[in-house]
């Protein structure tokens, strides 16, 4: 049933809203429409059919009109929704009082104007005066609207912080209310005197009401301004209810109109208005009582709110600079300071243990300089113990001996000052300052609030720093990964396919990037030449030199006639271009396909392992032809001492060139891999592919050093002769 009414009212109100965009005009239109509807009902049943049995006609009229009035109330409620959302929240009392003002003013003016009009309308018999009947109905509807609205407020305000008793009270109210309506209606229709029963019931309602209206917890949450506003509105609501009461009691026309809508309605309205006026009187009274303490309560609420906001900020703002700016603003706002600033002492950040100003608000650099002049402020703070977390408060700087010299300059912007240390793990990390241009501007609460703030600020600053550090680390890690990718690209993707030799390679840096290098270049005569290089040291520096080596090798190779020539040119190019003490060891192996020979030159590099068949038996030699490391000595000495050796090979002979990360690979016991396993691998197996040879060596090294971290970069090139 209520659904049906709701839907009907929605449809009508939608139609009305479309008729007029403004809700006020919608309300006026609705009132007019329903008043007209009621007038038609009146006219039909009473005016045009006087012979009809009076009691029945009054009854039917009333039922119809109650329906109409109900629909109207529904539409009215939907036009001006009291609350936007369920369930009732603690902010609703504020909303109600915020939205009530206009409604109350508009409705009260409209109501009294209409009431006055009705009262003065020609004293014709009702049945003959349709206009008067219409106006009477309109006023009655408006009264119903106002009363409905006020009851809605009442309902919500009482329901705030409700308990089980509240809902029982409300149910009881509803039951009693309906009983009263029924008694009134029947008493009016049937003409009996119900005053005795009414008196008992009303007394009951009155008692229940008085108990209930003591529950005004929502009032405490109002700010001072909101309290003033609520006071105005409840006084107005009280006046309107009382005025309505008096108006109905005094003005018999309105009373008659109301009773024509519904017999006994005037009594009901008066009862309702009385209850409402009592309630709003009680509210006004409470607000008046609460006003003197409003400032203190406001302050406490503000404290809680700003602390909450601060903790939320801490968990959301990780940018130290932004955080400090927000916090400085908060400091100024919570204690009503003129200006505020924060100084931090952070040796890691500022490079000295001296505190620096990290954020300032509403105070210029010059003004700060004046305060800090001659180290006055600093020496005042220094009187404190290093681990003292107590706040310092100067309520009047002119009374402080320490500030005597600067006071004349700072008087314009600082006469009282609070300084609160920022402590973290009982270590001082900075100070929060709040100053006011007036003397005695701060109160005791401000200091305790700022101290509470300081604790949270310290944590926030620490959080922001930790976050920044981890971000930084993350960035370095990413940069290193990029460097690694770049370095991988410096190594050849594919080794050349040479008819007489099968070649394979492997490289793995110990850290993200390394100083090992291998490549394949073509010499002047087009011979393929394999290069392996090991930059002294590890990590980023080595990686840069490795890249430099590649550039130089690629540049000089087309000019070089032999591996020896190649190394000489590389040395000449790099000498003096590396950091002092840095050098590179390089081995170059040219693949002479025409003669089936390997041409080897070694610049300080790890020995080269060569396996050849000697009388049908595999024999492994470790070759160390003479040669300085690259970039160690001047070309004259380097070139003179560099040897080049040639070895003719046949199918099945193999050669391994590697960096010292292989032979110096260590296990958990710190034993070295050495050269023996390399020789063993080469002599014990006949290989079809260089890849197997290299793979076997990698596998053996991994097996040997399992459990130990890779200490140095490892690179291997395997060469297998495939032509007899």
């Amino acid at each position: 049933m209520s659904n049906l009414v709701q839907r009907l009212s929605d449809t009508v109100s939608n139609a009305l809203s479309r008729f007029s965009a403004k809700k006020d005009s919608g309300a006026i239109l609705a009132t007019a429409f329903f008043a007209a509807l009621m007038t038609i009902v009146d006219t039909f049943f009473l005016a045009s059919n006087e012979s009809f049995f009076h009691g029945v006609s009054v009854g039917v009229t009333s039922v119809l009109k109650i329906g109409v009035a109900g629909i109207f109330a529904g539409i009215f409620a939907s036009l001006f929704p009291v609350r936007k959302k369920d369930p009732i929240s603690s902010t609703q009392p504020v909303e109600i009082f915020n939205n009530a003002g206009r409604f109350l003013w508009a409705s009260s003016i409209a109501l009294f104007a209409a009431g006055a009009l009705v009262g003065n309308v020609i004293e014709f018999d009702r049945s003959e005066d349709i206009i008067r009947c219409f106006l009477g109905n309109a006023v009655s509807l408006a009264v119903v609207a106002v009363i409905t609205r006020q009851f809605q407020w009442l309902n919500i305000l009482i329901a705030i912080r409700r308990n089980e008793m509240t809902s029982r009270f409300r149910t009881a109210f509803a039951v009693v209310g309906i009983t009263v309506v029924l008694i009134q209606v029947f008493a009016a229709i049937l003409g009996f005197d119900a005053q005795g029963i009414m008196a008992v019931i009303l007394a009951g309602i009155g008692i229940m009401f008085l108990v209930t209206i003591f529950r005004l917890p929502w009032l405490a949450t109002f700010s001072k301004d909101q309290k003033w506003k609520a006071l105005g509105i409840s006084v107005l609501a009280f006046a309107i209810s009382l005025g309505l009461d008096i108006h109905i009691a005094e003005n018999t026309e309105t009373m008659r109109s109301l009773n024509l809508v519904l017999p006994g309605l005037s009594n009901l309205i008066m009862i309702a208005s009385s209850l409402i006026s009592i309630f709003f009187f009680r509210v006004s009274f409470s607000i008046v009582l609460a006003l003197p303490t409003a400032t203190v309560i406001d302050r406490k609420i503000n404290e809680v709110r700003s602390l909450t906001y601060l903790s939320r900020t801490i968990s959301q703002v990780y940018d130290l600079h932004r955080l400090l700016n927000i916090v400085t603003t908060m400091i100024r706002d919570v204690c009503g300071a003129t200006s505020a600033w924060i100084e931090l002492q952070d040796e890691a950040l500022y490079g000295s243990p001296e505190p620096r100003i990290a954020a300032q608000l509403n105070i210029s650099q010059q003004q700060l300089q004046m305060l800090y002049k001659d180290g006055i402020l600093r020496s005042v703070l220094a009187q404190q113990d290093e681990n003292d977390s107590q706040a310092i408060y100067f309520e009047a700087l002119d009374e402080e001996q320490a500030f005597a010299s600067v006071y004349p300059y700072t008087i314009e912007f600082t006469q009282s000052l609070i300084a609160v240390p920022l402590m973290l793990d009982s270590k001082r990390i900075g100070t929060v300052f709040a100053v006011h241009k007036d003397k005695f501007a701060f109160e005791f609460e401000d200091i305790s609030l700022l101290s509470a703030f300081a604790n949270n600020i310290s944590i926030a600053i620490e959080n922001a720093r930790l976050f920044e550090n981890s971000l930084e680390k993350e960035r370095y890690k990413r940069e290193l990964m990029l460097a690694r990718e770049m370095q991988q690209k410096l190594l050849p993707k594919e080794l050349p396919h040479v008819a007489a030799f099968d070649i394979a390679a492997y490289s793995s840096p110990a850290l993200e990037v390394g100083g090992d290098y291998y490549d394949s270049v073509r010499l002047k005569d087009g011979t393929h030449c394999l290069i392996i290089g090991d930059v002294s040291g590890k990590g980023i520096t080595a990686a840069f030199y490795m890249a430099e080596l590649k550039g130089v090798a690629l540049a000089v190779a087309p000019e070089s006639s032999s591996p020896k020539d190649l190394l000489q040119r590389i040395n000449a190019a790099l000498l003096g271009n590396l950091e002092r003490g840095s050098y590179i060891t390089v081995t170059a192996v040219a693949l002479d396909e025409a003669k089936n020979e390997l041409v080897i030159a070694r610049a300080g590099h790890t020995p080269i392992a060569l396996q050849r068949l000697c009388d049908g038996v595999p024999k492994v030699e470790l070759l160390t032809p003479k040669g300085f490391g690259i970039a160690l000595v001047k070309p004259a000495l380097f070139d003179k001492s560099l040897e080049e050796v040639r070895f003719s090979v046949t199918a099945g002979d193999s050669c391994l060139i590697f960096t010292d990360g292989i032979n110096e690979a260590a296990n958990a016991q710190n034993d070295e891999f050495g050269y023996e396993p390399i020789c063993e691998i080469m002599s014990n197996h006949q290989y079809d592919e260089a890849q197997y040879l290299v793979g076997e060596l990698v596998r053996r090294v991994a097996e040997f050093s399992s459990g130990a971290t890779q200490f140095d970069d490892m690179t291997i090139i395997g060469i297998l002769a495939v032509r007899s």
Partner: protein, 114 residues
């Protein structure tokens, strides 16, 4: 693993630096600082005693190259003494025996100065 220490003894003939443990990229700066202090004191005759050095890495070798030209320009020298075979191999591969006097004992090194 990276334990390294050095001691110094000086007499009128030369400054002797004794190396202990592992000389690698992390510990090389220690040796570099020590030598540079010796040179800044005007002493250009330096003997490095390797008797107790277990391991030397490429970065460790670099240290000797840093100073050799400077001390020789001041008619001094750096002489290396008492290397274990494994340590010597590293020097040898790089061609150091052609650049430095590498001798078996400290006394031989002193003798070389005379």
């Amino acid at each position: 693993m990276n334990k390294f220490s050095l001691e110094q003894k000086s007499n009128d003939r030369a400054e002797v630096i004794y190396l202990n443990g592992f000389l690698d990229a992390h510990t090389a700066p220690q040796l570099e600082t020590a030598i540079s202090i010796v040179i800044s004191q005007g002493k250009n005759r330096i003997i490095v005693n390797f008797n107790n050095l277990e391991y030397i890495s490429s970065a460790g070798l670099g240290v000797f190259m840093v100073f050799i030209e400077e001390v020789r320009a001041n008619s001094g020298d750096i002489k290396l003494a008492g290397m274990k075979p494994k340590v010597f191999t590293v020097f040898d591969l790089l061609g150091f025996p052609m650049l430095f006097d590498i001798v078996d004992t400290e006394e031989e090194a002193f003798a070389k100065f005379n």
